[in-house]
Symmetry: C2
Subunit: 254 residues, 2 copies
């Protein structure tokens, strides 16, 4: 399978701490050595760093870990291949433009019977179930909303509905963002935590690393981190239920 | 204006040497300090590195310069902003998916009257003339070829035709690739060179750097580099004519 990591924040925040924990699972503390990727939004723009190499020994991952890029919406993924070989085009996250916005997505799980999904407006470049599901999701959304809806929340609610159809095909844990909203859909494995004042300390499970968020934040910061498995062992992560979706904006549930 | 760099090769080749020269023009030997980007194709996949910071002092550019990513098609751009402010979403190259392939594009020049261009299938995320022109190009191509044409060359010939319409709006030097073909369109400023056996030495204009390609290549390698201004001072670059387009594939003119 794979591991997912996402962030939604009300101020541009770096994800170096959480990403450092995730990276270790890419071939060191975890078996997810078939590539990794991370997408940062800055304003309406986004940039991805991707590598089909194991994350724990990737030169590019080292840079991302040590070079704090501040963002209000981030999605990251480390891969253990099941459908689709190990190569760049099969490396998450996947991004497409819809309504003049970049939508980015990553998936954990495995689908069966997914080849029947028809995608009208977006087409997969690689051959994973994940990318095909993403293209289907966005195609369905574009069918329903040919132009950008005034109420973006309703579009995300619709995406969540579509996710339950995908869950019927197998395991479908997912993160999807347009840079403002971050949607988390849980099939069987997704946890989240919101950090806000009063901030405390946290210790990574996968690496010897501790952070005192009080030193790194201002009292108004609100930062939510979402991950397939909790990344710290001294904080209370909330486990999502099967079939549950949560929409975040500026670090808070909306 | 800006500077463009592109490569087409018949074997995966790194572009570290040429990119090192280009980078210096991003705030050191040239005034193009408003961001930079580079897109590498590996198989059907591609990955971009982008930064709205000046390239000659960018941490990410340092990584790209020293970490040889081997590719058969590359497009790079360093920006001196005219239309659109300095920010990530306005940073070239731009990428969109069409027919299940990634198309990547970068532009040098400036257009007027471009806001009248209507884009049916692709929409700009930022607010540059360049990205709008790209969305228009791809929209027109998708109108003419709703599904992937068997003869990709004809699609690129059509894009070249469309480019001449854009040239009528101002200055339009452009590189565009789908990872297999690289199309160069010259409005007033584009040069190219094909390196093949017998290989020689070359010296960068913008940095103290020399390479002996014979040490770096095999006799069958064919590598074409395209740039707004020649990058080396001891090789013969060919200057393109105004309104001329050249389509490259595997390093050779097709």
């Amino acid at each position: 399978m794979c591991e997912l990591l996402g962030m939604s924040a009300n101020v541009p925040t770096d994800i170096c701490f959480s990403f450092s924990g995730l990276l270790e699972r890419g071939g060191n503390t975890g078996p997810h050595k078939d590539g990794w990727g991370i997408t940062f939004y800055e304003g309406k723009g986004c940039r991805s760093f991707k590598d089909p190499l194991p994350s724990f020994e990737s030169e590019i991952a080292k840079l991302v870990k040590s070079y704090p890029i501040k963002s209000c919406a981030v999605i990251s993924h480390i891969r253990q291949a099941n459908r689709g070989r190990v190569c760049l085009e099969n490396t998450h996250p996947f991004t497409r433009e819809l309504w003049g916005r970049s939508f980015t997505y990553a998936h954990n799980g495995q689908l069966t019977g997914y080849k029947s999904l028809t995608t009208k407006h977006f087409h997969p470049i690689g051959n994973t179930d994940s990318e095909l599901a993403f293209c289907w999701l966005l195609s369905e959304v574009k069918e329903k909303y040919p132009t950008k809806p005034k109420n973006m929340k309703s579009a995300f609610r619709y995406i969540a509905k579509l996710c339950s159809q995908l869950q019927a095909m197998g395991v479908f844990n997912m993160l999807l963002t347009d840079g403002v909203y971050v949607l988390a859909y849980c099939s069987n494995n997704l946890h989240w935590i919101t950090r806000k004042a009063p901030f405390g300390k946290a210790t990574l499970i996968d690496a010897e690393m501790m952070v005192d968020f009080q030193q790194e934040t201002t009292p108004n910061d609100i930062v939510t981190v979402i991950a397939t498995r909790p990344l710290t062992n001294d904080e209370e992560w909330q486990k999502m239920n099967s079939g549950e979706s949560i929409l975040f904006r500026h670090g808070e549930v909306v």
